[in-house]
Point group: C2
Chain length 192, copies 2
Amino acid sequence: MRVSVLIWLALGCFSASLPAQQVQTNEPKYTNEGQLIKPDNYREWIYLSSGLGMTYGIVESAANTVFGDRFDNVFVNPQAYKSFLGTGAWPDKTIFAMEVRSSASKGSINKGGRYQEELVGLEIHLKDQTRFPNKWAFFAFSPADKTAKPLPANSSCQTCHSQNGAVDETFVQFYPTLIPIAKAKGTFKADK
Amino acid sequence: MRVSVLIWLALGCFSASLPAQQVQTNEPKYTNEGQLIKPDNYREWIYLSSGLGMTYGIVESAANTVFGDRFDNVFVNPQAYKSFLGTGAWPDKTIFAMEVRSSASKGSINKGGRYQEELVGLEIHLKDQTRFPNKWAFFAFSPADKTAKPLPANSSCQTCHSQNGAVDETFVQFYPTLIPIAKAKGTFKADK
């Protein structure tokens, strides 16, 4: 009897701890056709930073604005964040989620500046070293999309990030809480 | 022998599950003098939204700007967020953390718009119903502060939030992912 109680305790305890581990897995998932399945819980990942109307001068177009008057909010999956805190580097299966939101200036008690409104799009940037020749890949989702194909390996996103990322192919130079960690770990490219 | 292994398994399993629960407590902690101890992990809480230079017209001063060209980023403790998803209301021990960060426009590849830089301050807004007559209280931390006294019960923060909060005394009207939840649960004051 005592043994069976202990077996129950041991098994019950293991099974009780499984759901938490499963929830926190947060690894890339693909369809059989190789499309990325949109992670539905990225808003509960670790927030890195936001920008408003960020404009990359390297884009040689009539208007260099990437986001207009839109906000971008960047999140990363928790296990990659935890790894980064210890190493200053991004492990395999790192997933960045950058959502883009429209903004407004006047509403409720607000009379100036800008606050966030509707989701306009979601871009995923992930590291899956065995699946992608460049190790990293980008995926662009409209708000209605459930899956997305990887952008071409020579997309402007991929090219810009590989040339200008301060840590690996990521824009840590715009994530203020990560900059001192990367500098301390020697992974920060100061010329980016 | 088999029993001892099971005891080890059971005890080891329980002790392994304790730290995760402790980490996720995230309840207000005070000094003996009643000052709030700054939560040191709020950046790992649930992100709600950001604004840039938000300006509240009800502030009757020469310049109504609350934040200038600064960003605000708002986080809430995970257990309050989880409760809100189910009820549309904030439970006791809800903690909001609003950090204020300076911004820049030109740096790295960025040539326009604004991105975030240094921490300028941190404001905590929490619900602790037995401790505070208004149920809610505000605390303002400079980046160096480890503890802070509650702002007076008639502070401009407290007065504005109690008059203009769309849910309880909080500005859910500026948290786009929470608005539909509060509306569905009937807790959203549409005139705010």
